[in-house]
Amino acid sequence: MQKKNAKLFSIPGNSEPKLNSWFPFRGQGFLILIAIVIATVQHANKTTEQGNNIEKLAAGMKGIKEHLPPNSSITLKMPEGAPDAGYMWWRYILAPRYCSIHPKEKLDTVLAILNINANDSVAGSVTGNRKIIYSSNDGQFKYFLTCNNK
């Protein structure tokens, strides 16, 4: 017969070594690495509303980005009724270019964005007498990249 003190919650210090080889750091590190890989693959493959919106806007801006060198600074004219978040989306997509929405900052290049249902007269008033460098639409917005005629 043998007496044994069964403990539920106690492993004081290092006094109770249990020999097995299941838990060396390599094993833990490997598990953590696998977790990171799986989470990344899942994340890359998932579709979300936010992801779709950004990717749609980025696709629409592709032509604009090709016509704007990374060191350029532009004024962004937002579509009517667009929230501040809209500015932040476009600025994010166009970075490292500098996009200003401040009327006081008079930059040569202007990117005017209009809602897709805006008519030609609205487009004309936005672009004015400026030279249109590039224009496009992505089914959601119309884009007019313009510069001074001078």
């Binding site: 017969m1 043998q2 007496k3 044994k4 003190n5 069964a6 403990k7 539920l8 919650f9 106690s10 492993i11 004081p12 210090g13 290092n14 070594p17 249990k18 020999l19 097995n20 080889s21 299941w22 838990f23 060396p24 750091f25 094993g27 833990q28 590190g29 598990l31 953590i32 696998i34 977790a35 990171i36 799986i38 989470a39 990344t40 899942q42 994340h43 890359a44 998932k46 579709t47 979300t48 936010q50 992801g51 950004i54 990374p70 060191n71 600074s73 501040d84 978040a85 500015y87 932040m88 989306w89 600025r91 994010y92 970075a95 490292p96 270019r97 500098y98 200003s100 929405i101 401040h102």
Partner: protein
């Protein structure tokens, strides 16, 4: 220190070194083909210095098999839990601030343009996250903008509960497992952790500073590591300066003793130098600081502002940190039963929470919007360190079953 903890802390400090060196390479216009090998060698050296220089606890002692099962299960829960809550491009501030800055820092010729973005972009924010993400965006491609920040934020988010688990594992496996499960099942933690903001890295460095300090009696190197981690807090977020300052004040006797002051200065000097370089030469004034005036002082005496902060705090605790509340109650109960005061580190965390309250009270203008958007994240910054401090008392509790006779 536990063997696994050494690697996690070394990885964190390695990314801090990467971030600082990459920022330096941008400042000095060093070509990328030189920057990459230099950073690679330096990070490896830092990793080696941290891992090899710290003696792990007796490595011949192995943990029971189910310790591995707990790890596996919690990793499974975290990976599964993150999928529905993580936004593809991170939260609002991720694409509005942190990853936006990263895109600028990925371009060596135009990175200073980020300081022109005054509206909604906070170019005064420190560069730990943007520099790490920017480095990898430049190394691979901007095409991976939804992947690189996620890998980084997910890893740091994962390291926090794993680190606490490793630290508690050999002391009390049950407490270690319970706390790991609490983190793994906390969707609020997982969401904040993968939001791609700098709050989680700040929480990670703050936690590391606590862990390193708990070993300070063994070796002065832990003082250096703790100081480096405080430097990481400062380089991660502006609030990190407040946390680091309070941490130093509370442990002043230890850090500034004749024996330790050199070790402390050695750890703090480099991150602090880069932080000052950034703040003095590049960053505009922080909005909260530049908005201070005589009126602000009067806000100290407006009771409604305190009430508002308290109401939001209670609401956040009730909905997002309910288990932390239970743990704190248990901790205080233990203090009463043991007739001991709460630990100094617990009081430090209480002071950090009070300091954050004062920031809200002194913020110019209305604070309701600010509280709604940021208080939860500030609590997220303190929560891992708090759980670690609480667990350090819980692991000392031992419940024994009555002796049984076994054939």
């Amino acid at each position: 220190m536990q063997s696994g903890s050494r690697y996690i802390i070394a990885t964190g400090i390695g990314t801090l070194g990467l971030s600082l060196l990459y920022f330096l390479s941008l400042v000095l216009h060093i070509p990328f083909f030189i920057t990459v090998p230099v950073i690679f060698v330096c990070v490896l050296f830092v990793f080696w210095w941290v891992v090899k220089g710290i003696k792990p606890v007796d490595s011949t002692v192995q943990q029971p098999f189910w310790a591995l099962l707990v790890l596996l299960l919690c990793l499974f829960l975290i990976v599964g839990g993150v999928l529905p809550v993580a936004d593809k491009y991170g939260g609002w501030d991720a694409w509005g601030i942190w990853n936006l800055h990263a895109k600028y820092l990925a371009d060596p010729d135009n990175w200073k343009k980020m300081f022109q973005n005054i509206s909604f972009a906070h170019p005064d924010y420190p560069l730990y996250v943007p520099a790490v993400v920017g480095f990898f965006l430049r190394l691979f491609s901007e095409k991976y903008l939804e992947i690189i920040p996620f890998i980084f934020s997910f890893s740091i988010m994962l390291f926090i509960p794993v680190l606490i688990y490793f630290e508690n594992l050999r002391k009390n496996i049950a407490v270690a497992a319970i706390i790991f499960f609490l983190f793994a099942l906390d969707s609020s933690y997982l969401k904040n952790g993968t939001s791609q903001y700098a709050d989680t890295p700040l929480a990670f460095f703050f936690l590391c500073a606590f862990i390193c300090l708990s070993y300070a009696h063994e070796d002065r190197k832990y003082i250096t590591l703790s100081a480096v981690c405080l430097g990481g807090c400062i380089w991660a977020k502006n609030e990190g300066s407040i946390l680091a300052l309070l941490f130093i004040v509370f442990n002043m006797k230890l850090f500034f003793s004749r024996k330790n002051i050199k070790a402390f200065a050695a750890g703090m000097a480099i991150p602090l130098f880069f932080f000052l370089l950034f703040k003095i030469c590049y960053a505009p004034d922080a909005a909260i600081l530049s908005g201070q005036n005589k009126e602000t002082f009067n806000q100290l005496f407006i009771k409604d502002r305190y009430d508002l902060v308290w109401d939001y705090f209670k609401d956040n605790v009730a909905h997002k940190f309910y288990y932390v509340k239970i743990c704190v109650f248990n901790y205080l109960l233990l203090c009463v039963l043991e007739r001991k005061w709460p630990d100094k580190q617990f009081l430090l965390l209480v002071c950090c929470a009070i300091a954050y309250t004062m920031v809200y009270v002194l913020t110019p203008g209305g604070i309701e919007w600010l509280l709604g958007t940021s208080q939860e994240r500030l609590m997220h910054q303190l929560m891992p360190a708090l759980m670690y401090v609480l667990s350090q008392r819980f692991v000392r509790v031992q419940f024994s079953l009555p002796k049984q006779e076994v054939l």
